[in-house]
């Protein structure tokens, strides 16, 4: 059997789109053929994890993982129907993130590297969805556990490997119903547009930035006799930044488009992030489903807990601490390396500075016009690019030859 990685090459789209035709015809005529959707999803998930030994191994890891998480969520939902103890909630949450924590620690190679074997492509996105469900169950927003719904949500095929991260209740509303014809036509029209925009992003622009220019800039930087600074780091920074955007945004467009064809209103992940006027604006436009997840489930709850327990007197300090912790956690999630963690701190403190500036601006009536706005966009863009240079790990290679 061939191995098909999602959206990796043009043929994948041919196979997938042909397989989705019956589903789309059904939706057009107002019928959601659930069994067919599950079947197609299973086939394409199977094709992601078959082929060579390492893929098959990941497939088994996925199965074990999903059983573990389903049992946790299932048990907790049952428990929550009668009780609501905070320690139990924390224990369940910790147990649900245990697999990814183990994979991240193993990934450093410092401790039990063999644990990385429990990882698989997409584990972090499955974890986000599951943890989100546990938190909403605690809130009382999710009241019952339906195994089939859980599986369809967490394993939703178009977004399995790299998001976007949907929300359970929103998703379930979609699969329980059928979009009316006008809405579905709107979905199809967006899907076509996003697919072609995604082709441009991922197969043309990301190819040039990532496969052609970036390796060249990197090799020039490495060839620099000065091992602390090279002017070539600047083109490395920009080419990497654009590669990251076009690759990931292209991928996300594909996932959203396929979701639309399947009649699911998958949330968008990017909204012209390089037009952001400040860092806060940036995080409302970049990898949106991730940053909103962190906003809703980490930041807001941190602020709430800190205010409730009166850890700090000032509201400002409270939110600043929450920014830094929130972004630091996001850095840890990317992986336990100095550059991911620095990236997290960079953005955490960046948001603190950003907030301070916005307060200053309000208080002192700083002039605001087209030019200041243009400058703000320019500055934000470059600050973000610097953060990507940290994030990409090339500095690790450049300075420490790893």
């Amino acid at each position: 059997m061939p191995n098909l990685q999602p959206y990796a090459d043009p043929m994948y789209f041919v196979y997938l789109l042909i397989a989705l035709v019956p589903l789309a015809v059904g939706l057009y005529f107002g019928k959601r053929i659930n069994w067919y959707e599950v079947l197609v999803s299973l086939v394409f998930i199977f094709l992601m994890f078959d082929g060579d030994a390492s893929h098959i191994h990941q497939g088994y890891a996925l199965i074990v993982y999903i059983i573990w998480e389903a049992l946790l969520v299932g048990w907790y939902t049952k428990y929550r129907q009668s009780k609501n103890s905070t320690p139990v909630f924390y224990i369940v949450t910790i147990l649900s993130i245990l697999p990814i924590v183990a994979v991240r620690i193993a990934g450093t190679g410092l401790f039990k590297p063999e644990l990385s074997l429990i990882g698989f492509l997409g584990i972090s996105y499955l974890t986000f969805r599951t943890v989100g469900m546990i938190i909403e169950t605690r809130d009382g927003s999710i009241k019952e556990f339906k195994p089939m719904y859980y599986l369809r949500f967490v394993l939703f095929m178009p977004t399995l490997s790299s998001g976007p991260i949907d929300r359970y209740r929103r998703f379930i509303k979609d699969i329980e119903g059928v979009p009316d014809r006008a809405t579905y036509l709107e979905y199809l029209s967006k899907a076509v547009k996003y697919l072609f925009l995604g082709f441009l992003y991922k197969f043309v622009l990301a190819h040039y930035f990532g496969d052609v220019w970036l390796p060249y800039c990197k090799s020039m930087a490495l060839a620099d006799p000065n091992h602390f600074w090279s002017w070539w780091l600047i083109p490395v920074m920009y080419t990497y930044g654009f590669d990251l955007f076009f690759d990931f945004a292209g991928y996300s467009l594909f996932a959203v488009a396929i979701g639309y064809i399947m009649g699911i209103d998958v949330p968008m992940n990017f909204n012209q992030p390089f037009r952001s006027k400040n860092l806060k604006d940036f995080w409302n436009r970049w990898h949106m489903t991730l940053s909103f997840w962190f906003r809703d489930y980490v930041f807001m709850r941190l602020v709430f807990t800190m205010m409730k327990n009166k850890w700090f007197k000032s509201r400002i300090t409270t939110s600043n601490v929450a920014y830094v912790l929130n972004m630091l956690l996001m850095g840890f999630w990317h992986g336990l390396t100095w550059y991911y963690i620095t990236y997290g701190l960079f953005h955490g403190f960046g948001l603190v500075i950003n907030d301070a500036w916005l307060r200053y601006k309000k208080k002192h009536n700083v002039p605001h016009n087209k030019f200041t706005e243009g400058f703000a966009i320019f500055l934000t863009f470059n600050v973000v690019m610097v953060s990507f240079l940290i994030f990409c790990g090339f500095l690790d290679t450049f300075w420490f030859h790893r």
């Binding site: 061939p2 014809r181 036509l185 199809l188 029209s189 076509v192």
Partner: protein
């Protein structure tokens, strides 16, 4: 607006786009035109795409063009004032070398590349420079995937006769060992058929034909051969240093003069830049490092045989040039000269026994002053010596060929035959 109309609005442009792409790829006439200047640049561009592709070769060797294919490897990239491309351009000879080769191109890569240029070889002349360095035990086709293209392979399938020949079967096996082919289920299946001596089914052939059509259009649209400026940078510039009229002894004097100036920083007569960059850093390590090099037993003899089969099939009139190593250098690295000469003798036996008699054997001249440009590549007076064979060969008209091919040269027993121990006489 009705729903049907909306559907058209959504999918109409997509269908139209695919239709246009289909037209672009399937229209039966060529879409590009190669200018004289473009071809001239291509002839010295060393672009991988040219070896991979078909369009440039077809244009360069079309009727009325004076380009002659020069097959070889790294030595072709060693431009100096006596390089064949420089001499031909400077003295307005009625041929101009089209350089097919660069570091890494050995017989198997040429074999695949030749599949796309059969009209260029059909009853025409060619020059083939053999580097004995290719003839290592398992061959040196590490660069295969750099120069391979599916277009070559589809051409190979289409060039094949009804029944696979011994060469076809041998090459099918060799190709199946190569990563980019092994990983393609369709090609691997067909090659297994050929390897076992089966001819391809009509359905498979039409699939190949269709692919071939798409691939050759892709080649036509995307081959990049104008990215260099080698014609002006190397050919014209080097030519300016030469006298206006061809004069052998004057050229020899200039060759020595240039070589003296450019090999001043070492005692091996290796070009200064090459010496500082490639030799000096590991000079100590290289002393005696080549004592065990052996070119006498190698699978490359059979890849080379496959190339000869193409020449025989197309009745190509070929001049073979066998290159030496820099003797000053090989004395230092301990390369065995007897072994070298035995391997050359084996190559020459394979050639002459099958009727390939145009051979310029320069292999013994590696010690001549300023014959080599560096460790294993001829330069200055070496190019001039090659010219002594190239010039008369390409100035005379095409000679009808009479090759008598022998498939035994594809056998393992020939590959493994040690010319110092066994007689080559049973291979005739």
């Amino acid at each position: 607006m009705t729903d049907k109309k909306k559907l058209w609005q959504i999918f109409g442009p997509v269908i139209l786009a695919f239709g246009l792409i289909g037209l672009l790829f399937l229209l039966p006439f060529p879409l590009n035109h190669m200018s004289q200047q473009g071809l001239r640049e291509a002839s010295v561009s060393f672009s991988d795409d040219i070896i991979k592709g078909q369009g440039v070769k077809r244009a360069a060797f079309a009727k009325g063009e004076k380009f002659v294919p020069f097959f070889g490897s790294s030595e072709l990239t060693r431009f100096d004032n006596m390089h064949p491309s420089v001499l031909a351009a400077k003295y307005h000879r009625d041929y101009q070398p089209f350089l097919m080769g660069k570091p890494g191109t050995e017989a198997m890569i040429h074999y695949m590349s030749m599949q796309e240029m059969q009209p260029a070889l059909d009853h025409k002349k060619a020059v083939f420079i053999i580097s004995p360095q290719w003839f290592t035990k398992d061959g040196v086709n590490a660069a295969f995937s750099t120069f391979y293209s599916p277009l070559q392979l589809t051409e190979w399938f289409l060039n094949m006769g009804k029944e696979p020949t011994a060469t076809d079967k041998f090459m099918a096996q060799a190709l199946l060992n190569q990563q980019p082919i092994k990983n393609n289920d369709f090609y691997a299946r067909l090659l297994n058929e050929v390897k076992d001596g089966h001819s391809l089914s009509a359905a498979d052939l039409s699939a190949i034909k269709f692919q071939n059509r798409i691939l050759s259009r892709e080649d036509e649209l995307f081959t990049n051969y104008l990215g260099t400026n080698n014609w002006n940078k190397d050919v014209v510039k080097q030519g300016k240093k030469l006298p206006a009229t061809y004069n052998e002894s004057e050229l020899d004097r200039l060759a020595v003069k240039a070589a003296q100036k450019e090999t001043s920083n070492n005692n091996f007569q290796i070009k200064n830049s090459f010496y500082t960059q490639r030799v000096q850093p590991s000079l100590k390590r290289l002393k005696g490092a080549q004592t065990n090099f052996d070119y006498r037993q190698s699978i490359e003899y059979s890849y080379f045989q496959a190339v000869l089969q193409v020449f025989a099939k197309e009745h190509t009139d070929v001049l073979f040039i066998i290159t030496p190593v820099n003797e000053r250098w090989s004395n230092y690295t301990g390369l065995n000269q007897d072994m070298y000469q035995q391997s050359v003798a084996k190559m020459k036996h394979q050639l002459t026994s099958q009727g390939f008699n145009n051979i310029a054997d320069l292999s013994k001249q590696g010690g001549d002053p300023y014959f080599m440009q560096d460790t294993i590549h001829i330069g200055w007076r070496g190019w001039l010596a090659a010219d002594q064979a190239i010039k008369p060969f390409l100035s005379s008209p095409y000679q009808e060929t009479h090759y008598q091919m022998n498939d035994d040269y594809l056998s393992q027993s020939w590959q493994n035959l040690d010319p110092s121990q066994q007689s080559m006489m049973s291979y005739n």
